[in-house]
Amino acid sequence: MKHTKIIALLLCIVMAAATLLGCTGGTDTPVTTPDAGQQGGTQTNAPDGGSTGQPSTGDVKYKEEIVIAMADEFTTIDPMETTAETNQIVQDCTHDLLTDTNLTTMQNEGELVDHWEMLAPDHWRFVLKDNVTFHDGTILNVDDVEFTFQRAAEKSTTANYMAKISEFIKVDDLTFEVKLLAGDVDFNYTMAANSLAILSKEAFETMPEEDAIKIGTGPWVFEEFVSGDYVSLVRFEGSTLYPVPNTKRLVFRMIPEASARMIALENGEVDVIMTPNATDYSRLTESDDLQLITETGRTQNFVGFNLQNPDCIVTDPVFRQAVAYGIDKDEMVIAAWDGYAQVSTSMMCRDMGYYADIEGIPYDPEKAQQLFDQCGATGKTLHLVTSDAAHRTKMAENFQAQMKKYGITITVEFMQNSALTELNTSDGTTSGVELYIASWTPGKNADYMFRNPLHSTGGRNYSHLMDPEIDALIDAAVAETDTTKRAEMYKELQERITCEIIPWVPIAQPTLTLGAAKGVTGALLHPGLVHQFKMIERVIED
Amino acid sequence: MSEKAIEKQKDLILDVKNLNVRFETDDGIVRAVNGLDLEIERGHAIGLVGETGAGKTTTALALLRLVPDPPGVVECEKLELDGRDVLGMGIKELEKVRGKDISMIFQDPMTALNPVFTVGDQIAESIFLHEDVSYVEAQKRAVAMLELVGIPGERAGEYPHQFSGGMKQRVVIAIALACHPQLLIADEPTTALDVTIQAQVLDLMKNLRQQYQTSLIMITHDLGIVAEICDEVAVMYAGNIVEKGTLEDVFNRTKHPYTEGLFNSLPNIRDRKAMLTPIKGLMPDPTSLPEGCPFSPRCPYAGEDCTAPQVVRNISATHFVRCCAYDRPGFHIERKER
């Protein structure tokens, strides 16, 4: 009897092990890791959503419903209540902005605005497009814009934009002028903020707020929202600004796990998936039924230093230089993004206006070791904080390993993103931060790229750089109207920041990706991850 | 010739030959019943007497084939109930016999009733199982049965915890007698009860037995009860019957040294000052019984011959004893005067 129990035990273990091995038996298939250079080719995307894509009648058949798997939860349709990308992606389908970034050309263009004119840096005139229909059938006019601005002024998420405006002048039904408190040559970019989507004044006057907020001008009409599960939209049959989509229904499903999203895509449960795992890229490109949609990213990831930390070696420029020489960025790109990222040489993002292709600091381990020894960093222990986002944790772990080679121990602390933001924006002399890993997506203009993270008054100056010369240079560049001179200034800024001051070491710009079923077109990738699905469609073959 | 005639005359309700029960446990094999033979005539009441651990209850369970298996192993040459072979019965047949032809009353009424069913249901279940009646009818008869054992019929809907010990035992009796079995085994039915209640329950059993002409095996260690209720007595020791006979035979013509010891250890009602003479020693460990007579280590008359296997000796037609000392010339035992 005793024996039977032992046998039973062994049997169970064997059975369990067999089941487990059965599940993972597919590990033998060799999967090649793509190298960083391979990913340049962008998959075919639909042409600019605004002009083409007329529903072709006749032989082409479109899938009636497209399901997009999102990583995060949708929470609200109210554009002024949120800055979360997931919400903005959905809102982008239902609501429109005065101006928007054309994701194909990356230029700021009018969306609801037909054209605009800068009368003076503090005086702007906008002319709306004619005959734009809201979901409730009313036609867009200046009153709707004014109403939207008034509402935005009362909302804390948008108040800062409205605070710039001193006066709103209605010229006629389609024309309005805006006077600003201070000159801003980039005011048209402000109007591209997703939270400033134009709402229908009449809807708010005739309907309860929770219904009125759903009324926009976009080609999709809000249908249903099941918290934590999905949000669904139906096409706007009366759409005038955009053509009526070929897809009848658009569903955004929330699947937090990347691997689960991938499986759902393969099983045909969904048509498009957000942020697939890097390990699934090859699966997507090699499959006959799937595709990987890529776009060059515009998010700069970097290892930063707190320059105000009173007693830490990170304030020593030699140390920072040593780190810059010491990081093997190619290796980090493989570790963090499986190779799907573009190594940065400059602190500025590639593909932005005024980007100068500077050489930066190359990887040179001997030099790094020499510099580390010189500043006495070898043998020291430093603390690095970053958020718990997957690629950042991987960067941190790889950085830790790389620094170990130089005899420097890095302890790592992951925190929730808002905690990291709070810590990094608090007083640098007392925050205790030594090193950090963060990223920066300058969605707008060049000034934004430099001012926010590097100006002493910048909102995201995590490195706490307080350099009057840099401040002056940033201020001078934004006021410069001569583009050649402005370009020179930005080049100087890039070189000084990247090679001399080094408040951070730029690592890479990860490639933007979407996974999709074959036949899906019309998805436009956004550097800030607010991808556009307005004109998404999927051709099906009989 | 005459023996055969006697045999024919005998109307046996129960006939057991060479019953062996052993329990195979981690600590060894416990031999609870060893080669027991038992015959009971219809309508007779036999008292099965012995110390705790003598194998009385196990014997009873073996008769119903209720010895838990594992660890219990039952081996038997012959087990006939009312002429029918119980040994060869399939489980279905057996279930029909249990409760119908042979019933059992258990020792502890506190635990013998299922706490989550009403007493009415518990009695009715037996009737419903064995008689061809509807459940409503079965319940009606259960109420009647309750009243028969002296419990008001309206209490049929109550649960066991609402009854006192004596009342519970009455319910147990009602369950056992619900289908008028031919043979009733009562396993120390009064041990767990107060003395006054004991008398009532015994009276009840006596009356009911007479009413239904039920044969009875009364398991007890109380010789008083045996004297009151039974016609015959079988004395058990270490898993076997050492002496069997009529009341007269065993009580007045005691033959086995162990029976003698039992009587000697009883308090003398007439002389309360007299010292008790308990049997020396303890029951042998059932995992390692001594060879031959199991009582020999405690027996004042033990001799060399006791280690040999014991054979039954007929003292008279009704009186048997399992003791080799009677092969010794002139052997007799000494019983204290009562």
């Binding site: 009897m1 039977t4 129990k5 039973a8 169970c12 273990i13 369990a16 089941t19 599940c23 993972t24 597919g26 939860e73 609200t76 209540e81 800055t83 804390s156 800062n160 605070a163 099941v226 918290s227 934590g228 599960d229 929330m254 699947i255 937090p256 796990e257 691997s259 689960a260 499986i263 393969e266 925190m415 929730q416 993103n417 808002s418 905690a419 933001t421 709070e422 810590l423 934004y448 926010n452 909102g459 | 119903l64 209720l66 594992p70 489980i91 279905k92 279930e95 249990r98 409760g99 019933s103 258990f106 013998a112 299922n114 706490p115 989550v116 199982l129 064995h130 649960y159 915890h161 369950i175």
Partner: protein
């Protein structure tokens, strides 16, 4: 009985208040707050102050807590800071989804554990007993999220029989319920077995057998009903465990339940939502245990008698 229930419900109140304070305070201790999460990248300090006031996040933690408590005692859980919707509404929207999962898993657990436990008990010390117990033990010992991943690999990916996640149709419930149920089944099997072993030794089963009740009926009718009593007592805690375990399972299977909502709320530092959800969660768990206790009375007449006294 009624008075007893009222008493139990009243006793819940201080516990829930305690829970609210503990969670609220822990959330406040946590670095980072909702403002940092919600503010635009280029928000001004004034704007941040404005948001703080708008969300009622100004003042010391005690001030804020007592403001929150003032509403709480009136049954108002407040508004979610991140989603700007009443917490109660959000909770009630998601809770049935978790209940579905929890009950699904309990059903799976019962379907596995009761037969397994009974088989183990009735075949005490045989290979069946050993196998059942080790299987049960494995169920308890496996990290549920790991089992979930393995099941997804097998059934969703390799075989393609079941969806990998989401909540569309009955099929979507199977894997999460199985994963969570396997975990619950472990402890339930052990309890069923020991409870059954206890009952099997009882004299009243012998009485039933002696009556001529068939072995099947003895187990199903006489033994099971008695064995159920201790099983039901742990049912409350099993259900509690299922709710707790649902948090991990919801993450693995993209199950849009209240567990995921709560984890998200904690990560977002959405104090009202996190606190509200946990209070409601705790309340439902306590109520479930109360319900189980009442159900217990119905199975066991002895206990029912005690209540009515």
């Amino acid at each position: 009985m009624f008075r007893y229930i009222i008493k139990r419900i009243l006793m819940m109140i201080p516990v829930l208040l305690g829970v609210s304070f503990v969670v609220y305070y822990l959330m406040d201790l946590a670095p980072g707050d909702i403002i940092a999460q919600m503010a635009p990248q280029d928000a001004t300090p004034e704007q941040i102050e404005m948001m703080r006031e708008e969300l009622g996040m100004n003042g010391s933690v005690f001030e804020r807590y007592f403001r929150y408590l003032g509403k709480l005692v009136q049954g108002d859980l407040g508004t979610s800071l991140s989603q700007k919707r009443p917490v109660m509404e959000l909770f009630l929207e998601r809770f049935p989804v978790t209940v579905e999962l929890a009950f699904g898993s309990i059903l799976v657990a019962i379907l596995i554990s009761v037969p397994l436990g009974i088989a183990a008990a009735t075949h005490h010390r045989t290979w069946l007993d050993g196998t059942s117990m080790v299987t049960a033990m494995l169920g308890v010992s496996m990290p549920s999220f790991w089992l979930g991943l393995l099941l997804i690999m097998l059934f969703a990916l390799k075989l393609g029989w079941l969806p990998s996640g989401g909540r569309e149709g009955f099929a979507a419930l199977i894997l999460p319920a199985l994963t969570l149920g396997a975990n619950q089944a472990g402890s339930l099997t052990r309890i069923t077995r020991s409870s059954m072993l206890d009952v099997i030794r009882q004299d009243y089963l012998r009485t039933a057998r002696a009556k001529g009740v068939s072995e099947k009926q003895v187990i199903r009718k006489h033994a099971l009903k008695n064995a159920l009593i201790p099983i039901i007592t742990v049912f409350g805690s099993t259900l509690g465990g299922a709710f707790g375990g649902a948090i991990m399972i919801e993450t693995v299977f993209s199950w849009p339940g209240v567990g995921r909502l709560t984890v998200r709320a904690i990560n977002d530092r959405d104090m009202t939502l996190a606190t509200g959800c946990i209070i409601m969660f705790t309340m439902f768990m306590t109520l479930t245990i109360l319900l189980v206790d009442i159900a217990y009375a119905f199975v066991d007449p002895r206990i029912k008698a005690r209540y009515s006294k």
